[in-house]
Symmetry: C2
Subunit: 221 residues, 2 copies
């Protein structure tokens, strides 16, 4: 199936600078002792849920940088995930289960559709670039590779930026409540990301994800 | 201050058909025994939160129709609300406090910016229509009254519907996971609501609220 004129795969990356990295956290205190894990939970909801359905073409990566074992990455795949409900405790519970595993450098599945590995933003960007190159091998289409977009207030309006032929894969990178560090921003730019925004006001990451999904829904329709 | 060319006030109404109506519910089980109260909590977040700020021009009404004392309405005002954080437990906790009060036919404030009263959708639509008429008394502008919009898959795209001069107040009405009953739809239509949608796919109420806020942010900018 040709994907030259629409996106087949959407990926979101959210960096949680304080989000804890073991499974000991309390589901009753996601914003506090779990290091604003509530933000990560809402981003999972925003990325994957439709009304009475899941977005099977979406993957979301949570980069957790809090104590005691940073950095770790958790991956939710809309295609494969099970036992996920829209509430924060539900995604929090699946994150907790993933963090109870001993994470290594390779992905390990904790529950269906949820994986965990050691790694940081740079590791993930490298992996996604490599995967995209492999996916694209032998393709005769131009402009169907993976494209990276950095959600940032100073970016170009998504309604203008994503016109024309869309990539086979699009990866959207977002910070949490503290934004990105200069070092992280540099890595994002090194990956060739374009800066986009979703509107005139500064919004939470989970709200931005909803706007991105909507914009792509409209273009794919 | 003239409001002829932009909206001064945004209101959201969400109907929770199963959401419980006393303060005995468990904050650890918002989706279950609290009757999908998690949906109501996320709608409060979507309506009121900006990054590091609150939307002071937004009011959200939750119509709760579950047992044991239906119907009740809870109002959150972005202008006045205190002690509200973005996580579901935070809004759930303020809803719980409001439901612990003895509700009567008039609004009673439970915590700053949160009120509760007895009443259903029809009562609220009547109240908002009356308030809008009072606000508009003596106005020389046309088309600056309250306008009602019903979020529905079969509605007209919000990007087309809300062009031109915007009303002083706009009220957006949304159903929960079970949608509206035919009787509720009739009352919404009787109030003069226009049906709008926010995109090609069916979304959760809290996601729709984010889209509406964004569209109005863009028009006000």
């Amino acid at each position: 199936m040709s994907c030259a004129f629409y996106i087949c795969m959407r990926e979101f990356i959210v960096v949680g600078h304080k989000a804890v990295t073991d499974g000991q956290f309390n589901l009753n205190d996601l914003p506090g002792s779990a290091g604003r894990m509530d933000i990560m939970c809402r981003c999972v909801n925003s990325a994957l849920f439709l009304s009475h359905d899941l977005r099977r073409d979406v993957v979301i990566y949570l980069i957790l940088l809090g104590e005691p074992e940073p950095p770790k990455i958790i991956k939710f795949s809309g295609q494969d995930v099970r036992y996920l409900n829209p509430d924060e405790r539900s995604s929090g519970s699946l994150i907790k289960k993933a963090l109870e595993l001993k994470a290594r450098i390779r992905w390990k599945e904790s529950t269906p559709g949820v994986w965990v590995r050691q790694g940081d933003l740079e590791d993930l960007l490298t992996e996604l670039n490599i995967n995209a190159s492999e996916d694209n091998e032998g393709s005769v289409d131009e402009g169907t590779d993976n494209k990276f977009y950095y959600l940032h207030e100073d970016g170009i309006d998504i309604r203008n930026q994503m016109e024309g032929t869309l990539p086979q894969r699009a990866t959207f990178i977002l910070g949490d409540h503290v934004g990105m560090t200069p070092d992280e921003e540099q890595k994002i730019m090194d990956a060739g990301a374009q800066s986009i925004n979703v509107g005139p006001l500064s919004l939470h990451a989970d709200h931005c994800i909803i706007m991105v999904n909507n914009e792509l829904d409209r273009k794919n329709n």
